[in-house]
Amino acid sequence: MNVSRTLIAATLGLVAIGAYAQTATPPAGASSPAPVQNSMAQRMQACVMCHGKEGRATNAGYFPRIAGKPQGYLFNQLKNFREGRRHNQAMNHLMQHMSDDYLQDIAKYFAELDLPYPAAQAHGLTAQQVQLAEQLVFKGAPERNVPACVSCHGSSMAGQQPAMPGLLTLPADYLIGQLGAWRTGSRNANAPDCMAEVAKRLTPEEVGAVSRWLSAQTLPTGTKPQAGSTEPLPIRCGSGE
């Protein structure tokens, strides 16, 4: 009896949700090109204009892909924008009146999107620049205390749970912009701000080569950020721990 009662309740619940999510009926003579849903995807239409359909920006232009990045990373960034630790006029404005709960909902929505990555593209780097980039990406520069990108961002650089972002297929201009912002102190994260330290140890040539190299790579469809590791990170990170 209990089971059937639960089933009935669940069914009624689903019907109620269905009714709630139903498309609103427009008045006579009016039509909407696409039905508006009472859904998270509909709410996030405000992000699509810059971050691409379903949060998938390409590696051209400036705006970063947000689909599939770890929820913890996205949440931290949304909060950083809200609290002025990152500066982008549009993002600062959009985030200003949002609760932590909603920021988590938004982060979760984009983290769970599983969309194909754009194809690899030519990076236009010289052999010497490629060598420089690959050295930093896979080995780092231990003598200057610069860890390899892969040591934190995952072996395939698709990110690492709970809060380490993937690096590949982001626009080169975006990556250069972020590393530059860390160097000048206009992008900040919770202390200890590991990327600020790393970025300040890089030369402008290294920033350019690494950003172009990372931007040109791709990832197989379905690649997810790797699971969190119990190993300590090579450098202390306030937002990645």
Partner: protein, 428 residues
């Protein structure tokens, strides 16, 4: 007698008269600045306030949205540092945490009350009315003491105050004294006996701590308000947004609204036919959503009773045909998927633009701001996952924003002046 001597003979008394007049004027201004001020009584400075008084003070701090100005983006609560941009320069809100060195830790309740009621600091200096003491002067001593008790209970944050960035003569106490002589008079809240208690409570909140008039009143070139401009609407001091008139049902007046709709707008930030944006979104986000149902209801009663003063019907110039057509095309391309091809919106999700008074205000500022910056309604308990609009300033230039604004202002029965690219450029 020589001519020179003759001149001197009438010059001297004239000069003396002038000097006398100036001295009298200075004395008058000085007197106007301190009239009605009793000597500061220390009040319950060293008395440990009860938890219930502190709690009431915390609630009153929400009503007054103290945190709104006295906290920087991402900064420690009440530690000050946010600049209020005015036509006269930037006034920086001070630290009001319990810190003794940089906050109000060393203030007495009496000094705090003098700041609220008379607009003077602990050391007697005149305060800038960016701190809305022309409204706070109506706050009772009891409420002031509760607020004081709450602020004294906040964690002490050592954050030195920054000086205001004002040009001459606005950076002088003399200029401030003249302003106060002209526009400020300390007052007591006087309940109107013929009105119910709720109405009086509403008036007390709206006129006092709520300081609605600080934004929603018209101001002259000296930043002064007059009684007949009360709630008449005006550009925000930083000239970004227009705070619509609370006296006009064609703007933000709620004389024709149901009371529970007004309560809902202040509580949730959205009702079926309206939502808050810009500075009012901030007010709902950090202040009114936390107010009790009874207080919101009281405010709604008073707001609905603000004497109606409709703005003169305006002769509306039609937008240029080409601009209008271009605006229509842009509307179909960028706006219609949410706001509907007839500006009908989607009930409870996207506001209708047809008949929406926020888009037909005489001032085009708010429409331009919303198009340019987009935005989400504030998150509230009643609207925890608000819908949002993209910042179209990323893809539309000033010409395009002007065209689509003109189209929206003159379509589906809307009738408001067209917007030019220059107008868009001038919106900060």
């Amino acid at each position: 007698m020589t001519n020179a001597n003759k001149q001197r003979s009438w010059l001297r008394p004239l000069l003396a008269g002038l000097v006398g007049l100036v001295v009298l004027l200075i004395a008058l201004v000085a007197w106007l600045n301190v009239r009605g001020e009793a000597p500061v009584e220390p009040g319950p400075a060293n008395v440990q306030a009860s938890a219930s008084v502190i709690e009431r003070g915390a609630y009153l701090a929400r009503v007054g949205n103290c945190i709104g100005c006295h906290t920087t983006t991402g900064g420690a609560a009440f530690a000050g540092g946010r600049g209020v941009d005015t036509p006269f320069g930037v006034v920086v809100a001070p630290n009001i945490t319990s810190d003794v060195k940089t906050g109000i830790g060393s203030w007495s309740a009496g000094e705090f009350w003098r700041a609220m009621h008379h607009g003077r600091s602990k050391d007697g200096r005149l305060l800038y009315p960016a701190f809305p003491y022309p409204s706070f002067t109506y706050v009772t001593r009891e409420d002031s003491d509760a607020l004081y008790a709450f602020l004294k209970s906040t964690p002490a944050v050592e954050r030195p105050n920054q000086s205001h960035r004002l040009g001459f003569p606005y950076n002088t106490q003399a200029a401030l004294a003249v302003w106060r002589a002209l526009y400020f008079r300390a007052g007591e809240f006087e309940p109107q006996a013929e009105q119910p208690a709720e109405w009086n409570r509403g008036k007390y909140l709206v006129q006092g701590l709520g300081h609605c008039a600080a934004c929603h009143s018209g101001r002259n070139f000296l930043g002064g308000t007059s009684l007949n401009a009360e709630f008449a609407g005006g550009l925000m001091p930083d000239a970004t947004w227009y705070a619509p008139s609370l006296a006009s049902p064609g703007e933000a007046g709620v004389q024709k609204w149901k009371r529970d709709e007004v309560v809902k707008l202040l509580k949730d930030g959205v009702v079926s036919h309206a939502s808050v944006s810009g500075p009012m979104a901030e007010v709902v986000f950090s202040s009114t959503q936390y107010l009790s149902g009874a207080d919101l209801d009281a405010m709604a009663r008073y707001l609905a009773a603000i004497p109606q003063r409709d703005n003169e019907p305006r002769e509306v110039k039609r937008a240029d045909g080409d601009v209008f057509a271009r605006g229509g095309k842009l509307y179909d391309q960028h706006c219609a998927s949410c706001h509907g091809n007839k500006g009908q919106g989607v009930a409870g999700i996207y506001p209708a633009l047809a008949g929406n008074r926020a888009v037909t205000l005489a001032s085009h500022n708010n429409l331009v701001q919303v198009i340019r910056q987009g935005g989400f309604m504030p998150t509230t308990a009643g609207n925890p996952q608000p819908f949002g609009m993209p910042p179209f300033g990323q893809v539309l230039n000033n010409d395009e924003i002007a065209a689509v604004s003109s189209f929206i202002r003159q379509s589906w029965g809307n009738s408001a002046a067209p917007v030019s690219s220059l107008d868009v450029l001038h919106v900060k």
